[in-house]
């Protein structure tokens, strides 16, 4: 073989290699999070078979995941339209407090309290949306402002946890197992995720949301009322936050100030983990669910292995940066390879 021939052969081999590498990297950037989730489950199953690998523990994981999944799927909607909602954690806390107050202080029936609570959440979402679209305050600022105000309003409403006068039936909502022996929050999560998945993928408002998120000017010029679509997305986020807040109060059996504030970070972590799943940097419901499960399985495993609770935030932050960073790097290498 001549020198030129060898070089050519080497070149072709290099090309094959880089093509293979590229495919692998694209695959990794899409399925990396799911792979990570499966590896985590595998690891815990092998190392703690008796405790981790049981029906009771799986139901426990799903119950824990359900509240995060509901609030995170609402957040997904605001991110789909290209906005931000930093108020959701505070909305959940505030509504969780109000819903118990409506029953304990105002003596309203359970169903009316819950309807009121969800409407309140959606209303706060609409307010966020109006501030962002009509007053044109940056979403980060307006939702942070609204959220902060809610903290104070909650304190004004009841500085002490509302623990007495809450009907047993309300706490039973989250403790009961109405369908297939599944905890109710899991059922509610499935319904919410399914509904939002259908809205985003199968309805015209969902298509419009995606259009607004991909190119706002193009969407406007296509005759889409961009402001309304955004307000709708914020309303969904508020509604979902209110649902998580209500379920949390039911689970705790009390309305407590700032009880759900921590869901903000969990939701963001889950949604961004999800955006690195299956699609390239897009926010979508299936991805969000995967993100929530990664967090829930991780927390569960850590607690089984007796890791101190302060390991949880380290895990949460670490896995978020790892997953999103890995997929971003993989995408970039795939593009340049």
């Amino acid at each position: 073989m001549t020198a030129g021939g060898i070089a050519a052969a080497k070149g072709a081999e290099g090309l094959r290699k880089s093509a293979w590498k590229r495919t692998a990297l694209i695959w990794l950037s899409r399925y990396g999070t799911i792979l990570g989730l499966l590896l985590m489950i595998l690891f815990f199953s092998i190392n703690a078979p008796g405790i981790f690998l049981s029906r009771a523990n799986f139901l426990n994981i799903l119950s824990q995941a359900s509240l995060t999944a509901i609030i995170a799927s609402g957040l997904t909607c605001t991110l789909v339209v290209g906005e931000f909602d930093l108020s959701i954690g505070y909305v959940a806390s505030f509504v969780g407090l109000i819903v118990t107050g409506l029953m304990a202080y105002e003596g309203l029936p359970i169903w009316l309290s819950i309807v009121g609570a969800l409407a309140l959440g959606a209303g706060i979402g609409i307010l966020n949306g109006l501030l962002v679209t009509k007053v044109r305050i940056n979403a980060v600022i307006s939702t942070l402002g609204v959220g902060t105000m809610l903290t104070g309003l909650g304190f004004t409403y009841s500085a002490f946890p509302i623990a007495t006068g809450i009907p047993r039936a309300f706490t039973n909502i989250s403790l009961g197992r109405l369908v297939f022996g599944m905890p109710n929050p899991v059922i509610i999560m499935v319904v919410v995720l399914l509904a939002l998945w259908v809205i985003l993928n199968k309805t015209d408002i969902g298509q419009k949301m995606q259009a607004v998120g991909s190119n706002m000017e193009a969407a406007r010029l296509s005759g889409i009322r961009v402001d309304r679509i955004k307000i709708f997305a914020f309303a969904v986020a508020g509604f979902c936050a209110a649902m998580t807040g209500t379920l949390l109060s039911s689970l705790l059996g009390s309305g407590t100030l700032a009880a759900a504030d921590g869901y903000l970070l969990d939701a963001f972590a889950a949604v961004f983990l999800g955006s690195a799943t299956l699609r390239e940097g897009e926010f979508h419901i299936v991805g969000t669910l995967v993100g929530v499960l990664i967090l829930a399985v991780g927390f569960n495993g850590l607690s089984i292995f007796g890791a101190p609770t302060h390991f949880q935030p380290i895990f949460k932050g670490g896995i978020l940066i790892l997953a999103v960073g890995m997929s971003a790097l993989a995408r970039r290498y795939a593009a340049s390879a």
Binding site: D204, A211, A219, L221, G223
Partner: protein, 518 residues
């Protein structure tokens, strides 16, 4: 500091050539510039004026050629080297920091006198203040730029150039945003500067101004220098001819559609006024014809289109669609009424790049694609059918409706945008620069699609700065100049030469002159 009798040909530009993506923007351009003279640089859109300026400024590196300043070769592609050689550039956008004072802006990027790292504004400002005096700046230099008028901002830019000892100042369309008295003031300053030995390179579309002000005029066409004339050697007619060139394209044999103008127009506009951009525009779009708006960039065509499409609302005047009053308060209103705009900026305002071809086609017609009319569910099958049908009809080259639109060529993306509105059944479609950045073959296909739409009864209004495109595509052309319609061409009258001539035809001034004569 400078003598008015500086040596001739202070700057020599030789054989500057630059191509972008295979297209020659500058083709061996030669030019010499003398100190103490005002040099005019004119040419149609895309003739290569800005590329030449950018090459001199060191922002763009030419493929070939050299520039010598004062006998020394200027390193090309280095803004710093250009500045050091005494070249200053004032672009139309005036790169000023609005919240800095005039003085701060004049000193921006210049070496400043510091004491222990703290800027001594008083001592740093000496050269700037001297420059301000030279051009007669009367407002305090401590005024923030955002509080200054456009004319005053120009003075700041000129002062900035002088404070750095600029020997040549290039000005791009300086009077575009100036009132008449302000322009006169600027001309006086330019004459002063040139008397002091500064060379001025004056780029403008306003030919009267150029003829009046410049000692020498260079005409660029298709990247080549086609004419060099001393003051007085050219009149406006000669200048227009030089800009167009003699090789005017023969009128199209295709024949142009003559709409029946006794019928009710699909769309009409009456005395539309908006800010200073659209001044009294009236027009009618008839069934079957391709009506085009020609004119120079900045003539107010896009602004007018935005009013029709509901992005902005006119200050006065009225629109009618199929004989009914039509006042869109938003784009959504306009679309609902049947008026749509395919925008100039295809990538940033037209397509949703990460989405599929089908998504992009169907996004304006989702309500029509529902499973059941009253319920908000979009039928995937109906959506696919509509997308497939339109892809075939417009011959969009794509792997399928599910392929990402980002992978398509510019021409095919544009066809997808036309498909979007074809599916929506619009009554009036406005296409702003429909074939910008598209190759010749695709352009023809786009033109065919537009013509077919027009013949099928959709009102068509095309905006294009490409004179050749107007001559090829339009059945009737309205030419705009500075917010007014300066003329109408139909049938065999539609030639590139006539369009360009009208593009430079100042209706406002013609009216004023008529008024004077009366």
């Amino acid at each position: 500091m400078m003598s008015p009798s500086a040596p001739a040909a202070w700057m020599r530009i030789r054989g500057i050539t630059k191509s972008f993506a295979g297209e020659l923007a500058l083709d061996h351009a030669d030019l010499s510039i003398e100190r103490g003279k005002v040099h005019g640089l004119v040419g149609a859109n895309g003739a290569g004026k800005s590329t030449l300026i950018r090459c001199l400024a060191g922002v763009t590196t030419p493929d070939e050629g050299e520039v010598a300043v004062n006998g020394e070769i200027l390193p090309l592609g280095s803004p710093r080297a250009s500045e050091r050689a005494g070249l200053a550039f004032i672009h139309q956008e005036l790169n000023l920091v609005p919240h800095f004072s005039a003085l701060q802006n004049m000193l921006l990027g210049a070496p400043k006198v510091t004491r222990l790292g703290i800027i001594d504004w008083r001592r740093s400002g000496v050269a700037a203040r001297a420059a301000a005096e030279r051009i007669g700046i009367r407002f305090p230099l401590e005024t923030r730029v955002c509080e200054l008028s456009v004319a005053q901002r120009w003075l700041v830019m000129i002062g900035k150039a002088l404070a750095r000892d600029a020997s040549m100042i290039a000005m791009d369309e300086p009077t575009a945003s100036l009132s008449e008295p302000e322009s006169e003031q600027l001309f006086a300053i330019i004459r002063d500067l040139s008397a002091q030995g500064v060379a001025i390179l004056y780029v403008s579309h306003r030919l009267e101004e150029v003829l009046q002000l410049c000692d020498r005029i260079t005409v660029l066409r298709d990247g080549r220098v086609v004419s060099e004339a001393q003051r007085g050697a050219l009149d406006k007619k000669g200048l227009v001819q030089a800009i167009i060139g003699h090789a005017v394209r023969a009128p199209d044999e295709r024949g142009r559609f003559a709409a029946d103008r006794r019928r009710q127009p699909i769309f009409s506009a009456r005395r539309i006024v908006w800010k200073h951009a659209v001044k009294d525009v009236s027009l009618d779009v008839y069934e079957g014809e391709v009506l085009a708006l020609g004119g120079l960039v900045g003539a107010g065509r896009t602004e007018f289109a935005h009013l029709v499409a509901g992005l902005n609302q006119p200050d006065s005047g009225e629109f009618a669609l199929e004989g009914r009053r039509f006042n869109p308060a938003s784009v959504a209103d306009a679309v609902r009424a049947g008026v749509a705009l395919a925008p100039e900026e295809r990538r940033s305002q037209g397509v949703m790049l990460q989405r599929s071809v089908g998504f992009n086609i169907n996004i304006a017609t989702l309500e029509k694609l529902r499973n059941v009319a009253g319920l908000p569910f979009v039928s995937g099958a109906k959506a696919k059918r509509q997308a497939d049908r339109l892809i075939v009809r417009l011959r969009i080259k794509t792997a399928g409706a599910d392929a990402k639109i980002a992978g398509l060529s510019g021409g095919n993306q544009q066809k997808a945008l036309i498909a979007r509105w074809l599916g929506a059944g619009v009554k009036l479609l406005i296409l702003d620069e429909p074939s910008r950045g598209v190759d010749v073959g695709a352009r023809e296909e786009i033109h065919d699609a537009i013509r077919a739409l027009a013949r099928s009864g959709v009102g068509i209004l095309v905006i294009s700065s490409d004179v050749e495109e107007l001559a090829l595509l339009a059945d009737r052309v309205l030419v705009m100049h500075e917010g007014r319609i300066s003329g109408e061409l139909a049938g065999a009258e539609i030639t590139e030469a006539r369009i360009i001539e009208l593009s430079y035809h100042d209706v406002g001034e013609a009216r004023r002159q008529q008024g004077d004569a009366a």
